[in-house]
């Protein structure tokens, strides 16, 4: 048992771009792992969350599995953070919100060019799609939001070091200024 701060991360309806950007903290990762231990995360391949201090969620909520994962994180993480545009607003995946789900599925699996053996996938193993892609704060309570597409490595660094050092996290203007 260590006294390290436990951090879990996951990507829901996202592209892993936020995770890649997180890795862009480069050699500072070595500093981080001195005080942090990763729990469930694509970095560790741990499949389920145990009790954590911080949960970082990339991506919005597009299907039932996303809901379960998000709830698992909420139940286990003291602080839950929406990371990036998709988690905060739904982002790119939410562009389908303007098209009825049935039309989307018909185009992809029935009517689209080059579709063979047309059928809508149906398997108990497959998560069902929600009719709209949702930002994560519409499904569980979220404590902090890291804006950006993706948030820069410095945003991750500033936010995590603030939290680890016991400060209220705050992002200076330069870090959230995009043009």
């Amino acid at each position: 048992m260590t006294n390290k701060i436990r951090v879990a991360t996951t990507s829901l309806a996202g592209c892993f771009g936020c995770h890649m950007s997180f890795l862009d903290i480069d050699e500072r990762m070595l500093q981080l792992v001195e005080v942090v231990e990763f729990d469930r995360s694509p970095l560790t391949d741990i499949e389920h969350c145990s009790n954590c201090d911080i949960g970082l969620i990339e991506g919005g909520v597009c299907n039932s599995e996303n809901v379960h994962v998000l709830r698992e994180f909420r139940a286990n993480c003291k602080i839950l953070v929406a990371v990036g545009a998709c988690a905060i607003n739904g982002g790119l995946p939410a562009m389908r919100n303007h098209i009825p789900l049935e039309e989307c599925l018909n185009e992809a699996y029935l009517d689209g060019i080059g579709v063979e053996n047309p059928q809508i996938p149906s398997d108990i193993e497959l998560p069902l799609l929600l009719d709209q892609v949702r930002p994560i704060h519409e499904v569980v309570k979220i404590d902090y939001f890291l804006p950006g597409c993706p948030p820069s490595a410095d945003v991750f660094w500033k936010f995590l070091t603030d939290l680890i050092d016991g400060r209220e996290p705050s992002l200076p203007y330069e870090l959230v200024h995009y043009d």
Binding site: R71, L105, L130, D131, R134, V139, K141
Partner: protein
């Protein structure tokens, strides 16, 4: 159609400033703005078609897809709701066999909501093809449905359907004035314009729209501008729900208002004036035109007014259903034929207004008061009222009282006195100044109407103890989300967030965190919005959250979080398409249910 468009473009001298007027004519003839009309108009006016589309999309009364030949709009103001609007709306939809927001299959009729149409003392109210309907009830609805189904032209509808009453219950200093046409102008020419401005200054008159800027100062600033081309604008875009005094003033005191504008023109040196009349008051348009014509014939408008060297005329411009155009710089944009998006201020309209030229924009009531002051002098007005709020205020009183209508009081009157006069009993609270104003409870009825305490543009809505405050808050919050002009993000996004968040809490899906979130969003919109609409859009929530915190907290559930939408319902389409109904194809609404 080509000939028709050609014709209206010519009538309007191909001026883009008249775009709203042209679009009104097209909408009225075709019941929408056809794409071909936009294309042709863009060629004739030499402006991009996207510019026309942006204007069409901005105003509620213009449509890119066809409405019914009879377009019925029912006022959605809280006061109409208090008079039974919802029941009536459903009844009308059923008897006309039309879905709200849609056109009936035969194209004959469409039914939808409109923001407050300014008939709060004689609601539930509505509009048919732009003309005001009042005191609707089931039998009137039956009558309307029959007329529509018989395809009776509007001109042949019984005139009692369109009766609009003044309901002046308590006239005062201004409403009791008996003036002849020209009295004020003669007084100005006798006394001199500088001296009249001095009287206006002495009167202490402040703008009656609500903001209360000193009128004499505004006129003085404008008259001192180096630019010689100047304009006078009368703001009759009375859109604040619960306000209808300007409608009454224009119906029965129009001569004095036009005279006030002419007095202003004489003082600031303007040649052109505009009356910006809200589209909902279309029924007043012809009457006002006739009064203007009469004034021209009597030498009170046009060249050499009363044989002096004053040349001034007034044009009436109709709005098209946008609350934001009551904001003076948005109004000017609209006068210029554009979407009503408020400008950055400064520069203020007195330096750069209509077409970038110095412009005085005042409320209808301000011009009425100016006329009285021009005749009677400053002291006549200043001797009434309080130290910082001189004269009287004309109020539109509606809601739960025996005699809703128009009341004029000296500034400084307390709320209880007003309630006694209009016959309000068992009062829960009063919304003063409309949705953007303040809600006061029955513990605050000794407060005074004056710029020092409760400022108001004239809206005074009374709620008795049978009412649910949250109905009002929800109605107002939806109103602002609908009327946000969309220019700045805090207001455009923020007002919609407020609407969703409030609906979630009122709908019983809120937890403690949701109220914290609601308040944070309120502060954000209030502090970061571009104009007064956004800065006041959170007032209904903030003023009731402050006064009734227990009411809000009583609505929340003792859970960590509940999504504000039906989570399992969101899987319904996917379940149907995948033909599944196993446990994995369902979601619990909250985590506790889930665990």
């Amino acid at each position: 159609m080509r000939q028709f468009i050609q014709c209206i473009a010519e009538q309007n001298h191909h001026q883009t400033t008249h775009l709203l007027k042209m679009l009104r004519e097209i909408q009225s003839r075709y019941h929408y703005i056809p794409g071909d009309a936009i294309e042709q108009l863009s060629g004739l006016l030499n402006i991009p078609r996207t510019q026309i589309i942006s204007v069409v999309e901005f105003y509620s009364f213009f449509h890119l897809s066809p409405r019914g030949q009879y377009e019925l709009l029912i006022s959605d103001s809280i006061t109409d709701h208090m008079l039974g609007k919802k029941d009536l709306f459903d009844y009308l939809a059923k008897s006309l066999n039309v879905t709200v927001g849609e056109v009936r299959k035969d194209g004959l009729v469409s039914l939808d909501n409109a923001s407050c149409t300014g008939m709060c003392d004689q609601g539930p109210a509505g509009l048919v093809n732009g003309y005001a309907l009042t005191r609707l009830d089931r039998s009137v609805c039956d009558q309307i449905a029959a007329l529509i189904n018989q395809q009776k032209p509007l001109e042949e509808w019984p005139s009692e359907l369109f009766q609009v009453a003044d309901n002046i219950y308590q006239p005062g200093l201004l409403l009791n004035q008996q003036l002849e046409q020209g009295d004020a102008l003669k007084a100005v020419f006798r006394r001199g314009t500088k001296e009249t401005l001095a009287e206006l200054d002495k009167s202490g008159l402040r703008g009656r729209g609500g903001a209360g800027f000193k009128t004499a100062t505004k006129w003085k600033f404008c008259s001192e501008e180096p630019q010689p081309e100047r304009y006078v604008v009368c703001n009759a875009d009375e859109g604040e729900p619960g306000t209808f005094k300007d409608r009454v003033l224009l119906n029965s005191y129009a001569d004095q208002i036009f005279e006030g504008m002419t007095v202003c023109a004489a003082i600031i040196g303007a040649k052109q004036g505009f009356l910006y009349l809200r589209g909902e008051y279309l029924h007043l348009h012809d009457k006002l035109q006739a009064i203007l014509q009469h004034r021209r014939q009597n030498g009170l408008l046009g060249n050499n007014i009363l044989d002096t060297n004053l040349n001034f005329d007034i044009e009436i411009c109709l709005g098209a259903g946008a609350y934001i155009c009551g904001e003076e710089s948005a109004l000017i944009e609209s006068l210029e034929g554009k979407a009503g998006i408020p400008r950055n201020r400064p520069p203020y309209p007195v330096t750069q207004g209509y077409l970038g030229k110095p412009t005085v924009v005042n409320n209808v009531e301000t011009f009425l008061a100016a006329t009285g002051i021009a005749v009677n002098g400053g002291e006549w007005f200043a001797s009434i009222g309080t130290e910082k709020s001189k004269g009287t205020k004309i109020l539109s009183i509606c809601g739960d009282c025996a005699r809703p209508g128009i009341y004029e009081y000296p500034f400084g009157v307390n709320v209880q006195t007003i309630l006694n006069d209009c016959g309000a009993v068992d009062v829960l609270g009063v919304q003063i100044g409309g949705p953007s104003g303040t809600f006061i409870t029955n513990q605050e009825l000794d407060r005074k109407l004056a710029f020092e305490d409760l400022a108001t543009g004239g809206s005074f809505i009374i709620f008795n103890s049978s009412r649910d405050i949250l109905d009002m808050v929800q109605n107002f919050t939806h109103f602002f989300a609908h009327e946000s002009c969309g220019f700045c993000t805090p207001c455009r996004v923020g007002t919609s967030l407020l609407r969703k968040q409030l609906d979630k809490i009122v709908g019983g899906h809120g937890s403690a965190g949701d109220i914290v979130e609601l308040e944070a969003t309120c502060q954000l919109i209030k502090n970061h919005s571009h104009c007064g609409l956004g800065q006041t859009a959170a007032n209904p929530i903030l003023s009731t959250l402050e006064r009734y915190p227990e009411m809000y907290h009583g609505l929340t559930r003792n859970i960590s979080f509940d999504p504000g939408f039906d989570l399992d319902g969101a899987l319904e389409t996917a379940r149907r398409l995948a033909n599944r109904d196993d446990a994995g194809a369902h979601l619990a609404q909250t985590e506790s249910e889930h665990e």
